[in-house]
């Protein structure tokens, strides 16, 4: 799929490039036994070798551990919900006093050895993340269970359903983070831990998959996808060795790991996609007062959208489908209109394209309960003051008084528009007490204004990360790609197929 350059552009390009019509490497793919391997080269491992997974984050931290099968329940009446398809949510400082959290919504999950109703652990304080997919629990919390490893030959398909008391995902692959059984000790593959190869430096990525580092007893990914490596458009490049992304899936012996393609069925899976009410979740959190926050906040997570009488799509909610076109600036999300300017901005992107011939350098705005603030633009573009660098909160906004933005809207690629009024209060003010829930905590996308990008670039490349602050006082829907929505909703209005958000 060739890209077009310099469409409508000026004359900065010079035409010296020689066209080479074809330079093809034909590969003899007869077998894998003679193929030399490096840690970055996928090979064909023995099919009974355990599967491990890596996740890397923007701050260069990572989770690594085995993939294992478990029976998973979330919420339900036995876990404190008011109905089978409801799980309680609580925003508080979390389970680690030395690592108190802000704007994190916790729930309770039950993890059992597949097929057992007695070999189980009930785990509170698991963070609910609509920005990822799959259940991830530190190994230390699962030590009393003997969960079977997922291997490439694991044939047990995950199943699901509901009981009279709760929803159930049976034999679902989960991520057992920090599991040192494969490989033993510290032999985490360097493509995950990011051990540098160039210099003598020993600085690496930071493994943050312990309870202490997480400030949570795990991460419950209830995002837009069924399988870990899915993305908008339903592609899953982890399933083939020729398209395997770096730092994702491995097979491991007791001593070392090899990057390996893993079929979707063996990837960490969004457990909700296996429930009876399986097409998404609704997060409903109580409103939190602007300017001060609240000590705690509570709410509910509903499973399914339009599948029951308690989870209908509200007629006032606007559906914002994820933009599936990678050639759109808002790919993977939507556009936010702030102070009458669209972010990301197609016009500005086209201008940059014309000026330099360079293509899109941004992604769409998005909703993510796993972000603890509303992160957007930068100080010059937003007009909101950064916190002083000496305050200890320099990566948040610190306006002199609460600033309200009542006319902001979110606009999807299909033209749907949803109002998104919000406020920003100084993080220093909010953090001055011991409150943990704030509806007006926000920060810049680009603190420190790296390289002093021009306003043009900021306008072209700006986007909004609508984190948990935006969820308070709203019902926020997250619909899963590839799961068939109810053809006749039990309540509410018609439910389109995912992936989309609505509120």
């Amino acid at each position: 799929m060739p890209r077009k350059y310099g469409k409508g552009g000026n004359v900065r390009r010079i035409g010296f490039v020689i066209l080479i019509s074809a330079l093809v490497f034909a590969v003899g793919c007869g077998g894998s036994s003679s193929t030399p391997s490096t840690p970055t080269t996928p090979t064909t491992p023995a099919t009974n070798t355990p599967v491990a997974e890596c996740i890397q984050f923007l701050d260069n931290s990572f989770f690594f551990g085995s993939v294992r099968l478990a029976d998973v329940k979330i919420g339900g009446t036995t876990l404190g919900g008011s109905a089978v398809n409801v799980a309680p949510l609580a925003v508080n400082a979390g389970p680690v006093p030395s690592n108190p959290q802000t704007n994190v919504a916790y729930t309770t999950v039950q993890v059992c050895t597949p097929g057992s109703t007695t070999s189980c652990v009930t785990i509170p304080n698991v963070a609910v993340d609509t920005g990822s997919s799959g259940l991830r629990i530190p190994a230390s919390l699962l030590s009393t269970l003997n969960l079977p490893n997922v291997t490439l030959s694991t044939s047990t398909p995950a199943t699901g359903g509901s009981t009279s008391s709760s929803e159930l995902a049976s034999s679902v692959p989960i991520h057992v983070m920090g599991d040192t059984s494969i490989p033993t000790g510290s032999s985490i593959p360097t493509t995950c831990s990011q051990v540098p190869t160039g210099t003598g430096s020993t600085t690496t990525g930071t493994e943050e998959d312990s309870v202490a580092a997480l400030g949570a007893n795990g991460l419950l990914g209830v995002g837009n996808y069924q399988y870990d490596c899915d993305f908008v458009g339903n592609l899953n490049p982890c399933t083939s060795s020729t398209t395997l992304p770096p730092g994702t899936y491995y097979t491991c012996t007791s001593t070392s790991c090899t990057a390996s393609a893993v079929p979707a069925a063996q990837q960490v899976r969004n457990p909700v996609s296996l429930f009876t009410d399986n097409n998404g979740v609704i997060l409903e959190l109580q409103a939190v007062t602007t300017g001060v926050g609240a000590a705690t906040a509570s709410g509910s997570m509903f499973f399914g959208i339009g599948t029951q009488t308690n989870n209908g799509l509200s007629s006032s909610a606007v559906v914002l489908p994820l933009d599936p076109s990678i050639n759109d600036p808002a790919w993977g999300g939507f556009t936010t209109v702030f102070n009458n300017v669209s972010y990301p901005n197609s016009t500005e992107n086209n201008l940059l394209l014309a000026n330099s011939g360079n293509t899109i350098g941004t992604v769409g705005s998005f909703l993510d309960s796993g972000s603890n603030g509303i992160f957007f633009l930068d100080q010059p573009t937003s007009g909101i003051a950064d916190c002083s660098s000496s305050s200890g909160e320099k990566f948040f906004y610190c306006p002199g008084s609460t600033q309200s933005f009542p006319s902001v809207t979110n606009k999807a690629f299909n033209g749907n528009v949803s109002p998104a009024p919000f406020s920003v209060t100084s993080a220093i003010t909010l953090f001055s007490g011991s409150n943990t829930a704030f509806s007006d905590l926000a920060g810049p996308n680009t603190p420190q204004n790296p390289g002093n990008p021009s306003s043009l670039q900021q306008a072209a490349d700006g986007y909004f990360d609508w984190g948990l602050p935006f969820f308070y006082g709203r019902n926020v829907y997250t619909a899963i790609q590839g799961v068939t929505p109810p053809s006749t909703p039990a309540s509410g209005v018609a439910v389109p197929a995912g992936p989309w958000w609505a509120y």
Binding site: V17, D59, S61, Q194, F366, Q457
Partner: protein
């Protein structure tokens, strides 16, 4: 206006050359990748390690090697007239391998990320990261399955080139 190169495997020695030049450098054995700050041959190493398609485009001041990885992330490497990679950019569903893409600048990035975490533990680990240091400017943002970012070495940007073109 572009060169399309498709490679299936760095290990493949059964090569059928249908047409072309530039072959000698592609047949060099794999070396330690040093993309950002490295010389243009490191781009080829990157391409091979990413098993990617590459297209080269020229502007008046630099070349842009656009590497389309099989996993959907597009990486652009900006090469100055003296053959040095002065900037890189990425966009796609998966983060690139930073230790490979940033080369010797990786340590600066890793240290800056670590410093940012300890300086501001309240900010989410998936919030956008910015680095602004004399030898590395970097922004890494987006969200799961839709990432975007840029990195460059200020002192290596050719005269007259605006850093914002690295995207």
């Amino acid at each position: 206006m572009k060169i399309d190169i498709r490679s299936r495997s760095q290990a493949a020695m059964q090569i059928v050359l249908l047409a072309g030049v530039v072959l000698s450098s592609l047949l060099l054995p794999s070396r330690a990748a040093a993309a950002l700050g490295g010389d243009v041959t490191s781009v080829e190493t990157d391409q091979q390690q990413m098993k990617a398609k590459r297209a080269v485009r020229a502007t008046a001041s630099y070349l842009v090697h656009e590497i389309t990885t099989p996993y959907g992330t597009v990486v652009r490497e900006y090469v100055s007239p003296d053959g040095k990679v002065f900037g890189v950019a990425w966009r796609g569903p998966f983060l690139p391998n930073f230790q490979q893409l940033l080369g010797d600048s990786y340590a600066t990035f890793a240290q800056a990320a670590q410093d940012a975490r300890s300086a501001q533990p309240r900010r989410s680990r998936n919030a956008p990261l910015a680095v602004a240091q004399p030898n590395l400017v970097m922004h890494s943002g987006g969200h799961t399955r839709a990432y975007v970012g840029q990195a460059y070495i200020p002192g290596m940007i050719p005269q007259g080139v605006d850093a914002q073109e690295i995207r």
